[in-house]
């Protein structure tokens, strides 16, 4: 597995689609490539948000816990980014992320993430677009909830 193949994976991520390959290479280079076995925890809910993750291989499960209850919210696959929300607003993790299979992820440290956003406006735009899309999806879900 080399940077080149990671760059290929990164190009699958919607927010990185429009970014210059050289910059994606920089992103891959400055992040840690980590492998997880099924059941390993990427991070726990309420932990400090110190990094974001891009899933390069495999799938992860998003779990929420409230009191004693635990609910699996969703599953995310290759190309998904997790943990960026907490980093952006400097809040603890809002969910627990569990490897649902063998997972390879790129861990992008908080400072690097901000640096990249600052350096490359197109990346900021991509992140914004992604968040907006999610908000839109949430709104749609809210509307769909029967009153």
């Amino acid at each position: 597995m080399t940077i080149e193949s990671e760059v290929q994976s990164l190009r699958q991520v919607s927010m990185f689609r429009d970014i210059d390959p050289a910059k994606l290479k920089l992103l891959a280079f400055t992040s840690d490539r980590l492998s997880y076995d099924k059941g390993d925890i990427l991070f726990h809910q309420h932990e400090i948000s110190d990094s974001t993750y891009v899933i390069v291989e495999g799938k992860v499960e998003v779990w929420l816990s409230a009191g004693n209850e635990r609910i699996k919210v969703t599953e995310l696959g290759e190309g998904a980014m997790v943990g960026e929300m907490g980093v952006l607003i400097d809040q603890p993790r809002s969910a627990t992320i569990v490897a649902g299979s063998h997972v390879v992820a790129l861990k992008i440290g908080r400072e690097i993430f901000f640096d990249l956003l600052r350096q490359f406006p197109q990346m900021s735009l991509a992140v914004m677009r992604d968040l907006a899309r999610r908000l839109d999806a949430t709104n749609a879900k809210l509307l769909a909830v029967p009153r």
Binding site: M1, T2, I3, E4, E6, A22, K23, K25, L26, A28, F29, T30, D32, R33, L34, S35, Y36, D40, L42, E111, I112, D115, Q119
Partner: protein, 949 residues
């Protein structure tokens, strides 16, 4: 021991009388032989060579006959003690010459002895003087010592007293010796001719009176020079200390010019000094030359007139030749005397402090340990500018427990805490500990029952352990009686002669009993317990893993650690975690190490084989050139450089990305751009420096970490084979600069962790570091080596002022130092400021628990109500504003009713303690329910405020 005398000579005489007299005696004893050796050449010439002894043409004489002739009043008889030897002229000449030779040897011996004695005495006195100065330094009150600049004090004690020591040997001996010599010559001249004697005397008098007067200005300048150079030393010390500020504000130019101007004024003082010095010298020489002029004219005139014969004149002139040198030396001596006394007085002035009064012993340490009682009565502390820090504070503590001196920072609690610990000594009012005024206690006796930790830990450049046990170094070891080994006896004898302590420093000083332990091993255990209490034990473990042991000193431990490698590997395998660590194998490439580490396969000792020096090292480059490895590495470097240039294009210099992730700094990029251009050009014009740079880049590469796909199998093979060549062919001169990894040997140059793991943690596996650490820790625990690692952690060198530790670690070391001596009373004055809020609270809770049954007094701004207290004394703007006994009642806040409470408090706390209920904190058991009336009122106030909100 008394204070250092104000007068230099009194100090020297008082402390070296015996030695001065001894040397003087030796000088006197040497004089007859000296004169004999002056007289002997005359005999050789007259008696042996010219043959005057062989009167009447006899061939032999009785040489060296010794005859004792009694004076007339005893009968005037002669006794022949030695009949003499029959000698011819030639043998007589040789005998006399031999005698002269022997006398020369004896005189030389005397000179050697005198100089040695003077030197040794000077050194002894110097040792005493320095010691006395340091001793006096410890007499200063805390308020005074802050005014002394450390560098200046050091310069005084170390450098400035040096010439004084040299002079001490001459202080009494020189004038006595030279004086007699000069006097003899003068008397001799006087005997020959009164007039010439008077003339010679007059000129000597002029020399002796006028020149010292002229030199007075020189002395004044000398004094100025001394002060100026001392200040320079102080300023240099300040520059070193304030280097962060200088860097932060880019004031280095200013600092340099400031130093430059100081050096300039020093130069001009010296210039003045030189002008004076040579003027005086000129005068001196002139006077010396003037005398013969007088002798030739006046003496010649007298001789012509027949009032002096020629023989006398020649004798006088010869005698006069002996007069100026001692006089000149005497004047020099006087000059030195002036210089040295000025210096001495200058220094003594700086250390002018009276010996503290002996003071009382603690009357009842046991009672204090059982039930410490502190009474603060009308305490006022005023700062040097006259601003009151606390005013008229009165309260008392009757029982063990947790007392908090509360209030916002600067409100006075911390001042009271400092006063309680006698860190401040200038106050009005009184503080009594179980009935004894603490300001009247003997110095040091308070420290036996009390420990104080302030906001700025004072740490020494030594190990963590040394810093902690510092508080236990207070029990002078018992001196073993005779018979002593010779070395120890000499050491002690010398210490005695210089008024120094006889006890040598070392571990014998540790008061194990105070720490409640038997020996050093138990003490280590206790220290670790305390660190656990302070949340510092994990740090110690980590420092232990990063520490190094000298297996040479502890061969067994090194071998045991080597054995642990296998145990750790086995455990990793058992837990299915083998893939987390890639072990070092001499025959295999370790992909989780850098190329450089793989090449060297060892730990560099010093700089020779440091990674950045490898490419330019001639031996290494010879090894890697051999099978084209250098070319391969340069190619990797080139690819790396290209990729870096591509990736970092457009990333601005100064971006932290460079620091953490690039192989090169932003400023290196243009240089590498040129190298890449040169390499890619058709002409292949790359230089060997280019090549070194590229190889250097490649050496830092780790495939799984950087993932640039630059390493192929043949290159790995080439590196492994170069590795073994590097090891086998290493020249003797370089062998000590690297310690190669050996699976069966401990590597002294590498930290403990690397030795235990003997491999690298794999990149790219989540939480590998944590998992391996956990396995390692449990394996160490099972092997019984956990404590060993902790102990190695205690050996960690913390650097000057503990700079190699984080602030919270420094604070923990200071607190452990306080706790290890098990004080009956612990005073914390903002000592937890280095800890984050939650941690500080947790530590305070544990300390409060630890001090059950003892007295814990805290002035910790921000933590006033963090843990339950038994007594809270609240301060505001230097005034006591509330005494709250017990419970977790909310703090008194706001300035509502402040004056009323002030007055009430005043009244209550000045009343005799223990008489009225509720006045002082008297019974712990009833505290949670029964707050003071004040606390209740505040409660109501708080409720009301809440309702209003």
């Amino acid at each position: 021991m008394a204070k250092i005398d104000k007068s230099f000579f009194r100090y020297v005489w008082r402390n070296s009388r015996r030695e001065q007299i001894t040397i003087l005696a030796i000088v006197l004893a040497s004089l007859p032989l000296y004169f004999w050796s002056l007289d002997l050449p005359k005999s050789i010439v007259n008696d042996a060579i010219q043959g005057r002894a062989f009167k009447n043409g006899s061939a032999t004489i009785k040489a060296f006959k010794i005859v004792l002739t009694l004076p007339d009043f005893l009968g005037g008889k002669s006794y022949e003690l030695f009949n003499g030897l029959d000698m011819e002229r030639v043998s007589y000449l040789f005998a006399l010459s031999m005698l002269f030779f022997v006398l020369v040897l004896i005189n030389g011996g005397f000179k050697w002895l005198i100089n040695l004695q003077k030197g040794v005495m000077g050194e002894r006195m110097l040792r005493r003087l320095r010691f006395d100065l340091v001793r006096q330094l410890t007499w200063f009150a805390p308020e005074e010592i802050r005014g002394i600049k450390p560098a200046e004090a050091a310069s005084m004690i170390n450098n400035e007293v040096e010439p004084i020591g040299v002079f001490i040997g001459d202080a009494f001996v020189q004038p006595a010796f030279l004086g007699t010599q000069a006097l003899t010559a003068l008397v001799y001249i006087l005997v020959q001719s009164v007039w010439l004697g008077i003339a010679a005397g007059a000129i000597v008098a002029v020399q002796g009176i006028i020149i010292p007067i002229l030199r007075r200005e020189q002395i004044r300048l000398g004094k100025r020079r001394q002060i100026a150079s001392r200040q320079l030393a102080g300023r240099i010390g300040e520059i070193v200390e304030s280097s962060p500020a200088i860097r932060a504000h880019a004031t280095d130019f200013y600092e340099r010019s400031e130093i430059g101007s100081r050096l300039g004024s020093l130069f001009f003082i010296r210039l003045d000094l030189y002008n004076r010095k040579f003027a005086v010298k000129f005068l001196n020489n002139l006077l010396a030359q003037l005398t013969p002029f007088f002798f030739y004219t006046v003496g010649g005139y007298l001789a012509l007139k027949g009032r002096l014969d020629v023989g006398q004149l020649v004798a006088v002139i010869a005698a006069y030749r002996d007069l100026p040198p001692p006089v000149k030396e005497l004047i020099d001596w006087d000059q030195q005397r002036n210089d040295v006394t000025v210096k001495y007085e200058q220094i003594i002035e700086q250390f002018d402090v009276d010996e503290p009064e002996e003071g009382e012993e603690l009357a009842s340490p046991d009672e204090i340990a059982r039930c410490p009682r502190i009474t603060v009565d009308a305490l006022s502390v005023i700062d040097p500018h006259g601003t009151p820090l606390v005013e008229n504070v009165t309260f008392s503590i009757d029982q063990p427990g947790h007392v908090t001196l509360a209030g916002p920072p600067g409100s006075g609690g911390e001042i009271v805490a400092r006063a309680l610990a006698h860190q401040i000594t200038r106050w009005k009012g009184s503080i009594c500990l179980n009935g004894q005024d603490i300001s009247r206690l003997r110095s040091g006796s308070l420290a036996r029952v009390m420990a104080y930790a302030g906001p700025e830990p004072v740490l020494f450049p030594s190990t963590i352990r040394d810093n902690v046990v510092y508080s236990l170094r207070r029990k002078p070891p018992e001196l073993p009686g005779p018979p002593l080994p010779k070395e120890e006896a000499t050491r002690r004898h010398e210490a005695e002669r210089s008024g120094n302590p006889l006890e040598a420093p070392g571990d014998d000083w540790l008061d194990f009993a105070a720490a409640g332990v038997k020996d050093a091993a138990e003490l280590d255990h206790r220290i670790l317990e305390l660190f656990a209490l302070l949340g510092f034990d994990e740090d110690i473990y980590r420092l232990g893993l990063l520490g190094k042991i000298r297996a040479a000193d502890d061969e067994q431990l090194g071998q045991q650690f080597v054995a642990m490698r296998e145990a750790i590997r086995k455990r990793l395998a058992e837990e299915g975690k083998s893939r987390l660590v890639e072990p070092f194998d001499p025959k295999r490439y370790n992909s989780n190490s850098t190329i450089g580490e793989n090449l060297l396969f060892g730990e560099p000792v010093g700089e020779v084989f440091a990674e950045h020096n490898l490419p330019s090292n001639p031996y290494v480059s010879k090894v890697i050139e051999a099978d084209g490895l250098a070319t391969r590495l340069a190619a990797i470097g080139l690819r790396l450089a290209e990729m870096m240039l591509e990736m970092f294009a457009g990333v601005q210099a100064g971006n932290p990305l460079y620091e953490r992730f690039s192989f090169l700094a932003a400023s290196d990029l243009p240089g590498f751009q040129e190298i890449v251009n040169r390499s890619r050009s058709r002409r292949r014009s790359e230089t060997s420096a280019d090549r070194d740079k590229l190889i250097s880049l490649a050496l830092a590469y780790i495939e799984p970490r950087h993932r640039l796909g630059l390493l192929d199998e043949p290159t790995r093979q080439a590196i492994v084979s170069a590795r073994s060549r590097l090891r086998e062919m290493i020249p003797k001169s370089l062998a000590s600069s690297v310690e190669f990894y050996d699976p069966s040997a401990y590597c002294n140059a590498a930290p403990v962790r690397d030795n235990l793991l003997f491999g690298r943690i794999a990149y790219g596996i989540a939480n590998a570091q944590e998992q391996v650490s956990a396995v390692m820790k449990s394996a160490l625990a099972d092997g019984g080596f956990l404590n060993t690692v902790y102990r190695i952690g205690l050996d960690y060198q913390i650097g000057s002022h503990g700079r190699l530790l984080f602030p919270r670690q420094r604070a923990a070391v200071d607190l452990a130092r306080c706790l290890v001596k098990n004080p009956a009373i612990l005073v914390l004055d903002d000592a937890l400021r280095a800890f984050p809020g939650m941690e500080a609270k947790a530590i305070l809770e544990r300390l409060s628990e630890e001090f059950k049954g003892r007295l814990l007094i805290t002035a910790l701004p921000g933590l006033d109500d963090a843990v339950p207290f038994d007594l809270k004394v609240s301060f505001d703007k230097g005034h006591l504003v509330g005494v709250d006994k017990g419970g977790e009642a909310p703090a008194a806040t706001g300035e509502v009713n402040l004056s009323a409470r002030d007055a009430a408090e005043e009244k209550r706390s000045t009343a005799p303690s223990g008489e009225t209920e509720g006045q002082t904190w008297s019974d712990q058991s009833e505290q949670p329910e029964q707050g003071s009336p004040d606390a209740k009122r505040e409660d109501e106030g708080a409720v009301q405020r809440q309702v209003a909100e």
